[in-house]
Assembly symmetry: C3
Homo-oligomer: 659 residues x 3
Amino acid sequence: MITERLGGLAFGGDYNPEQWDEQVWKEDDELMRQAGVNLATVGVFSWALLEPEEGRYDFAWLDAHLDRLHANGVHVDLATPTASPPPWFTLAHPDAMPVTPDGTRLVHGSRDTYCISAPAYRAAARRIAAALAERYGDHPALALWHVHNEYVTLCWCDHTAAAFRVWLRAKYGSLDALNDSWGTAFWSQRYGSWEQILPPRATQWHRNPGLTVDFSRFFSDEVIAAYAEQRDAIRAHSDRPVTTNMMLPGYQNIDLWALGREVDLVAIDFYPSAPGLDAAAEAAFTADRARSFAGGRPWLLMEQGTSTVYDRGRTLAKEPGEIMRHSLGHIARGSEGALFFQWRQSKAGAEQWHSAMVPHAGPDSRVFAEVTATGEAVSRLAELAGSTVTAHVAVLHDSDAWWALNSDGLPSSDLDYHAALRDAHRALWDAGVVADFAHPETELSRYRFVVAPALYLLSDAGAENLRRYVADGGTLLVQHFSGVVDERLHARLGGYPAAPLREALGIRVTEYRPLRHDERITLSDGSHGTVWSEILQTRGAETVVAYTHGSLAGSAALTRYGYGRGEGWYLSTRFDDADYAALIARLLDSAGVGPVLPGLPPGVEAVAREGSDGRRWHVVLNHRPESVSLPETAHDLITGGPVGELPPGGCAVLRGGTP
Amino acid sequence: MITERLGGLAFGGDYNPEQWDEQVWKEDDELMRQAGVNLATVGVFSWALLEPEEGRYDFAWLDAHLDRLHANGVHVDLATPTASPPPWFTLAHPDAMPVTPDGTRLVHGSRDTYCISAPAYRAAARRIAAALAERYGDHPALALWHVHNEYVTLCWCDHTAAAFRVWLRAKYGSLDALNDSWGTAFWSQRYGSWEQILPPRATQWHRNPGLTVDFSRFFSDEVIAAYAEQRDAIRAHSDRPVTTNMMLPGYQNIDLWALGREVDLVAIDFYPSAPGLDAAAEAAFTADRARSFAGGRPWLLMEQGTSTVYDRGRTLAKEPGEIMRHSLGHIARGSEGALFFQWRQSKAGAEQWHSAMVPHAGPDSRVFAEVTATGEAVSRLAELAGSTVTAHVAVLHDSDAWWALNSDGLPSSDLDYHAALRDAHRALWDAGVVADFAHPETELSRYRFVVAPALYLLSDAGAENLRRYVADGGTLLVQHFSGVVDERLHARLGGYPAAPLREALGIRVTEYRPLRHDERITLSDGSHGTVWSEILQTRGAETVVAYTHGSLAGSAALTRYGYGRGEGWYLSTRFDDADYAALIARLLDSAGVGPVLPGLPPGVEAVAREGSDGRRWHVVLNHRPESVSLPETAHDLITGGPVGELPPGGCAVLRGGTP
Amino acid sequence: MITERLGGLAFGGDYNPEQWDEQVWKEDDELMRQAGVNLATVGVFSWALLEPEEGRYDFAWLDAHLDRLHANGVHVDLATPTASPPPWFTLAHPDAMPVTPDGTRLVHGSRDTYCISAPAYRAAARRIAAALAERYGDHPALALWHVHNEYVTLCWCDHTAAAFRVWLRAKYGSLDALNDSWGTAFWSQRYGSWEQILPPRATQWHRNPGLTVDFSRFFSDEVIAAYAEQRDAIRAHSDRPVTTNMMLPGYQNIDLWALGREVDLVAIDFYPSAPGLDAAAEAAFTADRARSFAGGRPWLLMEQGTSTVYDRGRTLAKEPGEIMRHSLGHIARGSEGALFFQWRQSKAGAEQWHSAMVPHAGPDSRVFAEVTATGEAVSRLAELAGSTVTAHVAVLHDSDAWWALNSDGLPSSDLDYHAALRDAHRALWDAGVVADFAHPETELSRYRFVVAPALYLLSDAGAENLRRYVADGGTLLVQHFSGVVDERLHARLGGYPAAPLREALGIRVTEYRPLRHDERITLSDGSHGTVWSEILQTRGAETVVAYTHGSLAGSAALTRYGYGRGEGWYLSTRFDDADYAALIARLLDSAGVGPVLPGLPPGVEAVAREGSDGRRWHVVLNHRPESVSLPETAHDLITGGPVGELPPGGCAVLRGGTP
């Protein structure tokens, strides 16, 4: 484990000494010691310096920095620089530049300009990864390998087309099987040869959903293969763990369950998309996903900003205390440390306004003071290393469902997979409950309550798995427009959702009735719905809440069904936030799931980490602007003394507590 | 007539058995009998199955389906599949794929990917049409030929450029004539050779309106020529009527007056763009246009959804009763039946969420129950076959005016031809009056009242035609920014509108004064205007309503002029809906035009169909949520008994009534 | 001076006789006399007629028009037609058509379709300019040369790339210097050869700000070089002054300080972007910039519309009186006349809805009546020729700052250089004060008060210049996010803004804290801020207004610092308009700057022109809908008599007055 090598939790960030001079390096050494940095990510965007011409390497500068860091007690997370090929690469391999769906070939001048399926790119990436591993594989500073950075570049070029066809042949075996799966009898799309299949390039109108979802699956597999090639090239020379950083909040191009299985340590980047309490909730959302993708094993917050909150075209600053709370918020949920992008704010280049641990203003600044305080706190949490988090509730998540809900031609533009997932998690977070995410086909019996939001695509196996979960005693809430198509994107016939799920819910949906843009309906219990409504027949289920609008008046909006030893609930509209929170609270109560620490007011977050030896810690974060009393006084690792109250915005890591 | 072959009005829809298996076909046979289906549109998107490789045909599967349908008493509307070339076509003829104005060449993967001017496409289309006609031209099931589907694909490629130049040479004869017409002395656009002329591709700023409108005219002629080629290839082998389905509500790329003259039976598709009463009004709008394009002859509603209402990015469901009311609403206005897209909702493909007669949920569903009820009702209306509809009011409509109002560089982005046309029709519909649409150059004397909304382009002949209409006793309402440019897009000089029209209106407009985005002005009588205002001098006309805002205070907004034996009215702003309705009501009254059935409350629609033998029926549709009493009790064809009251949402087809 | 040749101020407009016939030309002659036209701009878009095939010229038609104009007493501003190459040029030189960043090559069909860096285009432009100069260089009608028209076309093609590299080599000398300046160590952007450098074409994400700002600088230099080539070709044959018309309000692609130095007479086009008083203020804003770019020398309003106000997609009409007030508004601030685009409204072509001196309706129209009245007034102002305008206040303006504020990756999408510049000027205009614009590096000691809005980029020299300005007694107001990066786009380290400026302001900014989209904060004195906030430390400065929101409560929003003999003020948020106006009024008062004519109510504009002989005139414009009394009765050049009161919307040019 990385924490053993570091002797505690990780603290640090991306470090780009090549942007600075010797005087600054000296100050860096001093300030890193002040801030308690023990891990620096080096080389993420250094390809042009490491390989200034194709095949000619220059490692001397990097040797010096690694030695310097080592001498200063800082370990290194060494990156392969493949996210940003140098300008010479474009000229040598123009066919390896990415192409948009409408045929525009992008060029260098930013970063991430490559086609992941281009042979020349893949070969160049393997070469530089191998060269780095050969040189630094057993460097004493080396703690971790960081392959690439935030894999995101999509491409629709001819290399991509060729690779897509190879993938399709392997998946389908025959064109008949592919044609049947995609339903190409519709719109005269039947393929007569593999060569006729193209990526989803610009076309006249709606694209075939089978094609587009398979293209998403292909792309995900292609990225994971590219990652695995570099990982394997590294492993030939080095025994240190290998990872790549997942860009969590918005990106959706990779099946992170699959990627999680390929990395030695799940690593994520966190940049909130709204300020304040929303950011805190989003940190928990991100962290819970990271832990889930890691299969419950420890994982690592690889990047966060000291002061970067994206907010619809603006980059807001973080408020005082948020550096600490976001860092501990991730550690609370299983991260083995808290790293930042980047150590020192760039003075030039396209991200000169990205926040950093040492801002433009220098160490005499609020930001550096809070960084130092956070580093100090993290250094006191070494005993948490390797401990884990247990959740009794799960939110179902499947990339297939996400990709499918991006299909052309769906009935409403208001369907938003990511928002539905986040909203479900938020309601649980507001209730003080820690949630896992789970794939619909995995064993769910360890959870008392499972929520399925926006699970438009649900495989046959998934549907049966959910049925069995309820039959065996689980409480399941399925939300509108879920279980609608199978893994081939074929609609469920005879009524929605998929038959085994219908059985467990005691209902049969016969019609989807999207609401208008500005439509908000009132339901029988005074709650409100937007976006969506459905006509459903109860088949045993009880109508808990009914519609009252128009021709749906009197028909069921929310149902409950006792099935086997469990309960299946179905919500056929999008509840207003408060109504949804009330429903989740009711179901948690019914499932016997309470908050981690009972009695805390809203906006105070508590999570338990548990050691394999039975030890237990509670991380408590006060996101409120007032002081808050803790249920009982306990020993706080951060202050090293007893604490019974948290100041406004304050944090504590309490040793012990009721399991 | 198609109704003779069918033995009554048509009922049915698009049928795509190639998407299903034998078990479903058997259920289809049974359900079609239940629903009263007598006409199925087959083969619309079957090119890839009918011609799996270039030049190799496979008709066996289609033989079987036609025989099966015939055995089941269902006639066939057989389509040529040319709207969607198969994937092999792209690879064989990449030059026949459409190109956007910015040079992006689209590919297959959706539908409608072809360049209508590409020789390879046109030849392939003729071949498959001829092959189908040769094989099925006298098939006993065959009732109608359905060429292509909703011609819509525009293209800006070199084939298009070449065809455009041929069209321009034929139109202008000489470059001098073209240069003069387009005003190429402006902006150094003078063409020195035909080769210099390009389609309106991506350029730096505003495009020449003469060029863009001629390109629209060219494209329309090109589509009609492509249709006519297929029609003629079919006629060589078959004596059944030939048509193509016009996509009415939004599309605007074809001069439907001209296309109407080329088809044996005008056929249209109807998909409303707003729910509820707006959809009912839009059905009437669409149907009245269809009847007008058909020259008053019977026509056919070829496609509608059982539950498809487009609403700004969402696809809403229809309310209970709308399947019946929309179907009868079209039949009321001259349709010889009511067909749907499609029979059975696709389980896969890009339109799997398009509604159908048999939904995913199957026959045990609200939708199928209403389909069956509607089929039953339509089957009782056989005696209406061949009867027609008479209107005393016309709304002027000209594709040239539409295209011209899409020119670059017009004074306001709020000018919307389609909306102006629809608003005029809606005011008449609200008044219970049935309206024709009429081309500005056709004989208008049969109408007591004519409305000219948004007639920006008005030819010399059209202007003189309108003058004469008023002189001969007609009541004419001309709305703002009409009669402004001639057929060459040249502005009328010396004052707007065109001189003969000015004469009939007794005014002279000297300035257009667009209003601001959010500006709403109050007029002298308390009415309100938006979008537009004008400075006009009365030249004999009476000022009925005056402006009161700013420097226009006191000048005329609405004028009336007694000219010859008629009256010319001019409205120089966009009235609010209620004010416009009041004006239309006033003019109807003044022109002596009353509702079809007096005494009905708003939202109850009545239309008379008249047989050539003097027989007469009234179709009455109650769009209200309350019961409504009819003026007198009469025999209802649907119930087969006397009816004096319609329930909420109910319909009747009354035999007889005052002519 | 042009006024000597004309015998007074210029009045007239663009004249395109090639669009009309002989009968119209005769009417033109008559109407020009009526309107007092003495200058006509001819040939702006005549390339296709002057050179109908490459290398074949046809001047006969132009000879005739110049002679006719001359005979009618109208002088000529003769244009080179290079803004709009003819269609033959596209076919002969397809490589000279402009290419967008995503690779779309535009074609003719509009205007301005050329790549300014294409050798074929530059050669063709020089040839036609030389040919015109040779033929008309000493034509008796000729008063001015008008090179090109509103240089605006950007291009990203390979010619552009080649020219960009030449420019970069000249600027940087070595790749090392370029790499250092652009900070290419970031994101692996280091260039290993000049050939690797591309224009900022479509790429994956944020572009390098050094590259994009240098591309803007290159483009500006390239345009000025293209202009200078034509100018020099003309000067070889003609001694008349040469200019090109700057498109002022929105365009930003040229460093107008530099272009101002290359023209013999600064000429501008003015099209307001909002109606009413905003348009009047925008006229003053535009005119003050023109005078500043001209270095205080007389300049010329080359184009305005008689009735063209752009307003978010609409083209509004001007109100009665605005033709006169906008014309005199420009003359008041130093224009040597008032010209329009165009004389006669085109009946065809893409700008047929652009207003003109003779509208479609003809001379019997409001517009022509106002044009004639304006021409009459201008003809009475001959004695103003050559007089100048003195300002005691300056607003700093630098194209570098504008371009830099368009960089990718800045913290807020609400940062708008043009709006900040305009708002600063508007506050001064509302206070009755005439302002110059000044480059940050020029001598500022002649100004009592200097405002620096949105000066994101500020060079080392500029920062030192501002420090010295304050030290020497000036009052300086620096606004938020100014002085942030140097001329290489490198962020200022150790605290913002640049060190010399920090010193003069007595502050140190440590953090920028953008506000949310809809956030409006209340400050300690009740004023309000939007868009932006900052954390700053006072280093001697007094906190005049403090923040009250969140964690910024109590820290300084507005500061004042006595430095040397002057005062440095810093405003770290965007004040609401009224609060900003109050601040500007307070600083004007403190700096001892009063309105040009004290005692006038808001909306009444007064400007003084001063002759080199000490003579003085006051132009007074009443933009209010009520009469206004003047401070004292004086002789009005327009009426030729004494005037003591202006009617609603009225104007006067008063001889004399207190200096």
